[in-house]
Symmetry: C2
Subunit: 142 residues, 2 copies
DNA sequence: TCTTGACCTAGAGTTAACTCTAACTTTCAA
DNA sequence: TTGAAAGTTAGAGTTAACTCTAGGTCAAGA
């Protein structure tokens, strides 16, 4: 099967502009052209999935491009690509921990507003102790 | 205790430019001035923590400003602020699920590269089945 | 054949969130 | 009291990631 820019855009939940922009930035070095028109194929899907993943992990396009460039160079860069994957594993772990930390704050505020709404004024809860003593999650132990 | 812009910047892990930019955008309507100089106080910390939280949940500054404006209006907006908090609770939940989904992809790639490095070439693993059949996490059931 | 819609490019425009500069004021230790 | 460090403002500049426009090509159905 082969797929047009607009089909791939739909699959990735982005605009056709974005797909062409990614190509301009060199993120699709493997995509075939027929009469100048981009033709995506099933064999390109593993990379589309990976791109979608890295994009949603908030990797900047330049960093994604680095990964593409390594992949293009082939087997000699396997270890470097593995390294990049390990970094992403850590990245995900850190992001999940952060979210769990901020969840505590939000849960606190939720209870806070529930009480405030119940009694009709924020005054009653203004001095409730906040579960997080610091401003930044980096300062939080383990 | 009172704190200068640079002290607050340090606490929030941002530059002094950023603190002044946030103030310019109206995110610190409560901050005192002494001879024109900003003076943050302990009573401002709950809001600094909340700001830090919303910022790290990737809320745009305009949205954070909306929350500030509600807070300034006082008790009449308690329900609206509660609503915003509920949205953030969902937001966090969705983000954690997404990360767990992408973690699967990364774990797959990790095993993929481990094998490829072991045998010395990617060819051996090129056709390994990917655990995620779709491109976008939105399409994933439950 | 002709029109419609999807494709192409180069390059300009937009937006968010900073980031910095210039010119000035305030604070504080020596 | 004076010089450095840190504060102030308005407004310009930067960067990433799109987003769009203009001007063109191409394939397919009426």
């Amino acid at each position: 099967m082969s797929y047009s820019v607009s089909e791939v855009a739909k699959m990735m939940n982005v605009s056709t502009y974005t797909i062409r922009y990614y190509d301009k930035e060199g993120l699709f070095p493997m995509v075939k052209r027929v009469n100048g028109i981009r033709v995506f194929e099933d064999k390109d899907f593993p990379w589309l999935r990976m791109l979608n993943c890295l994009k949603n992990l908030n990797l900047p396009i330049k960093k994604i491009k680095e990964y593409v460039d390594l992949a293009v160079r082939g087997d000699e860069t396997l270890k470097e690509r593995y390294q990049l994957i390990l970094e992403q594993e850590e990245n995900i772990q850190k992001q999940i921990q952060e979210l769990q930390y901020y969840k505590k704050q939000i849960d606190f505020k939720k209870a806070y507003y529930e009480k405030a709404i119940e009694v009709g004024t924020e005054e009653a809860v203004k001095d409730w102790p906040n579960p997080a003593a610091t401003l930044d999650v980096d300062e939080v132990p383990d």
